[in-house]
Amino acid sequence: MLEVENLTVRYGRITALAELDLAVPEGRIVTVLGANGAGKSSLLKALIGLTPIAGGAIRWKGEAIHRRPASERVKAGLALVPEGRRILVSMTVEDNLKVGAYHRDDPAQVAREIDAIYQRFPNLAERRFQKASCLSGGEQQMLAVGRALVSGSSLMMLDEPSLGLSPIIIARLFELLVELNKGGLALLLVEQNTNMALSVAHEGHVLKLGRKIAHGTPQQLLADARLQEAYLGG
């Protein structure tokens, strides 16, 4: 469904990502692992269109989209849950969800989906008309996921969703991700929380300093010394 070929991203003279190949097939969970500065966030920003790419190609359902603006990519079915969640704290919970559905022209269906999200997350329903700034970290993460859901995406990309969350909330979050995936949603999961990510993913890639150093199934990667090296050093 999503194919990335030879992708290179540079900031000025710094190469954040070098010649990366990666694919997310329909309905699968793919995880990208690596320490800080490995280029994971740059990958997601390039995919959604926030960062221009310096080389390579991004194909979505067979079509090259790397020259399209972010808004069109979202419309085509890509959604990003950014690092740090980036909730719009000056807006209400409900408005955050509605902005998530910004490009959609079927308000009735959107309203139904928002109701479904409230059923799934009763905490959000309680605070639907309050400013999002009053949500806890876990609730904000749920809202960010909910916001990506109502965009009607078929691929959800998550950037470090477990960051700053307590273990219980992380566990709940991953349960949710698995459930969403069973409903047919493909996931591209960028994580430092390696074990958690590998426990849900179908396959994983390990990045170090912008380059892919390992790729395989979770079992293969867990057995691979290069994974631990990427985190805790030699």
């Binding site: 000025g12 003279r13 500065g37 806890s136 074990n195 631990q228 030699g234």
Partner: protein, 257 residues
């Protein structure tokens, strides 16, 4: 007496607890790493030590002085200097001028403030700054705008700017992030040289290999709490640390600790 002591330090942002009951000490001349997963509160600890944020609870002592309520600039005057995670060089100043900003804690005084040093090409500030750049092998960049420098060079200038203040303690926020292996190696050597002059180093870093080689002692925090302390080997062996980094029950990478 320890050079730096954090005593039961806590920090909340609104309702969010970022640092909780954190205590650790750093002895003069030591090289200590502060590590932990992303979002664990490491940079916040630096900001609490330098006074960017006020503490919610607890105390910070530096060189025997309680600095908990001192304004930022006074703490710097006592001998604390730091580098920045996202390099914070002054884009409107040249490289040598950035270094001269680093001299500020020891320049002092109204007369120093109003000396038209730029009309005196032999002025000791300029000489010193250039000498420091030359020594670091950055002399060729002295008169360029920092915006035009490659990333690695900017990182080194950022570090050098903190060093020229002659601090007693240097706080380094991810000094190796984004550097390639060669540059990381150079950085290691440079930091060892600084430490050899008696400067205490406190490092926040994700590159564990780098930390292992540089630091004698490691403090690990997660969710703002200290979860382990000791040598790198001791810390690696801690199940709490493995869980913090790798999540779940740590069954990863047998034999590598």
């Amino acid at each position: 007496m320890s050079l730096l002591a954090l005593d039961d330090v806590g920090k909340n942002f609104g309702g969010l607890v970022v640092v909780k009951n954190l205590s650790f000490t750093v002895e003069a001349g030591q090289r200590v790493a502060l590590i932990g997963p992303n979002g664990a509160g490491k940079s916040t600890v630096f900001n609490l030590i330098t006074g960017v944020y006020p503490l919610t609870s607890g105390r910070v002592l530096f060189d025997g002085v309680d600095i908990t309520h001192l304004p930022m600039r006074r703490r710097i005057g006592l001998g604390v200097a730091r580098s920045f995670q996202n390099i914070r060089l002054m884009g409107h100043l040249s490289v040598v001028e950035n270094i001269m900003l680093g001299q500020q804690p020891k320049a002092g005084g109204l007369a120093a403030l109003l000396t038209p040093y730029r009309l005196m090409p032999r002025h000791r500030w300029i000489e010193e700054a250039r000498a420091a750049l030359d020594e670091a092998g950055l002399g060729a960049y002295a008169d360029l705008s920092v915006d035009s420098l490659p990333y690695g060079v900017r990182k080194r200038v950022d570090l050098l700017r903190a060093v020229v203040a002659n601090p007693k303690m240097l706080l380094l926020d991810e000094p190796a992030a984004g550097l390639n292996e060669r540059e990381t190696e150079d950085l290691h050597d440079a930091l060892m040289a600084i430490a050899a002059k008696g400067v205490t180093l406190v490092v926040v870093e994700h590159d564990m290999h780098f930390v292992d080689r540089l630091c004698e002692r490691v403090v690990v925090i997660n969710f703002g709490e200290k979860i382990a302390e000791g040598t790198m080997a001791e810390v690696r062996a801690s199940p709490l640390v493995r869980e913090a980094y790798l999540g779940g029950d740590a069954t990863v990478g047998a034999g590598h600790a």
